[in-house]
């Protein structure tokens, strides 16, 4: 069951790469939150109950509901256009993300570690790199935030791999999630939307060396 959920997770990544509208990204993020909730529920059986509850709350309330709603609110409030506006065509994005997944599989195959659950490793790494690729290849700042959230999800998957032995690390990861998301989204909500009317990264390139 866990494996099935994780494969759906990877498919969501591929879907995101060819999505045309920003609202799709938000939905995919919500979906990933739900998947993570499922994985957590199935994976973390050995830890204390209150800890598990905290993690589950985080995935459902924070990742699957609050953040997507907040993103939708932001898009409306700042009147962000619906197109995703990538630098590269969707077709190439798809190829690149497929390549990322293939390479991570190859990479995971070459690791000999009995403690490491391969599928977690593959999913988390490919999510991570997809997120990074997202940030590097999209024009809008809000998509950068989404790329970052995707990276967080990848990290969360990885932390689940060690969650049973070290629940503290998962807590740390949650702290990171909440903290960074609040900080980044807070700045975005409060200032960037107000100060820069058309929210394009090209406007945010005045600080440079030449």
């Amino acid at each position: 069951m866990t494996n099935v959920l994780l494969i759906i997770f990877i498919i969501s990544l591929l879907y995101v790469s060819i999505a045309n509208r920003i609202i799709t990204y938000v939905r995919v993020l919500a979906l990933q939150g739900v998947i993570l909730f499922g994985v957590t529920f199935l994976q973390l059986k050995d830890i204390q109950t209150w800890n598990l509850v905290l993690i589950l709350l985080e995935t459902v309330v924070f990742k699957a509901v609050a953040v997507p709603m907040f993103l939708g609110y932001l898009i409306k409030r700042n009147k962000i256009t619906r197109e995703t506006e990538p630098y590269l065509p969707h077709f190439i994005s798809l190829i690149i993300i497929t390549m990322i997944v293939v390479i991570t599989i190859l990479l995971a195959n070459s690791i000999q570690d009995t403690h490491l659950d391969k599928i977690f490793f593959i999913v988390s790494l490919s999510t991570l790199f997809t997120g990074l690729y997202f940030i590097a290849s999209r024009k809008k700042i809000i998509t950068h935030v989404m790329g970052y959230l995707m990276i967080e999800n990848g990290v969360f998957v990885l932390s689940l791999a060690v969650g049973n032995e070290m629940p503290n690390l998962v807590n740390l990861g949650i702290m990171l999630d909440v903290f960074a998301s609040v900080l980044i989204l807070g700045i975005f909500l409060n200032k960037i939307g107000d100060v820069f009317k058309a929210v394009d990264v090209d406007q945010l390139s005045n600080l440079k060396d030449y």
Partner: protein, 187 residues
């Protein structure tokens, strides 16, 4: 002493943030300067000892701490003059100094921490306070700088977390789950 230092530093930061009276704020800043210096001297005399389980006065930490403390005094003085000259509002001044003291205290704690997760936490705290300082002027450039700083730092801190995860994985492989840098008795 370490606990006292951390608590009082954060309390001072909080008080400065809550308080708007410039005289009391200045007194608090001076108190913090003295506190920082005293703590540095204290740590010099407790070379290679461990406190509060997670903090160790090792050579590297001490060296960096001394550098920090040497820079702290002029930094506070310069901030005082700078703020005075730029005719700030009481609230922005309070935020500035609270963030500065918060930053210095978190850096100190990060230097002395002997556990990778503790370092990680304090590093995140430095990101938070430094971004407040960067955003001090509240203009377009400051916003851009803050955005870039926060964003890149967030990604980097995520990667640090991934590193910690990998480390813990390989530690399990080696049959251990202790994430501290070195045992107190190995110092």
């Amino acid at each position: 002493m370490t606990g006292i230092y951390l608590i009082s530093a954060f309390v001072i930061a909080g008080l400065i943030f809550a308080n708007r009276n410039s005289l009391i704020n200045n007194i608090l800043i001076v108190i913090f300067g003295i506190l920082q210096t005293a703590f540095t001297i204290y740590s010099c005399y407790h070379y290679k000892s461990t406190v509060l389980e997670y903090f160790t006065f090792d050579s590297l930490g001490l060296l960096l701490l001394m550098t920090l403390s040497v820079i702290t005094i002029p930094a506070l003085l310069h901030s005082y003059l700078y703020i005075k000259r730029h005719d700030e509002t009481p609230s922005s001044r309070a935020i500035y100094f609270a963030a500065l003291i918060f930053l210095i205290a978190s850096i100190t704690a990060a230097y002395l921490a002997n556990h990778i997760a503790v370092i990680w936490i304090f590093t995140e705290m430095t990101t938070l306070s430094a971004s407040m300082l960067i955003y001090h002027h509240r203009n377009k450039l400051a916003l851009e700088g803050t955005w870039k700083y926060v964003f890149i730092c967030a990604i980097s801190i995520t990667f640090v977390f991934i590193g910690i995860l990998f480390l813990s994985l390989s530690l399990q492989h080696a049959g251990s789950n202790d994430l501290s840098f070195c045992k107190p008795d190995a110092l």
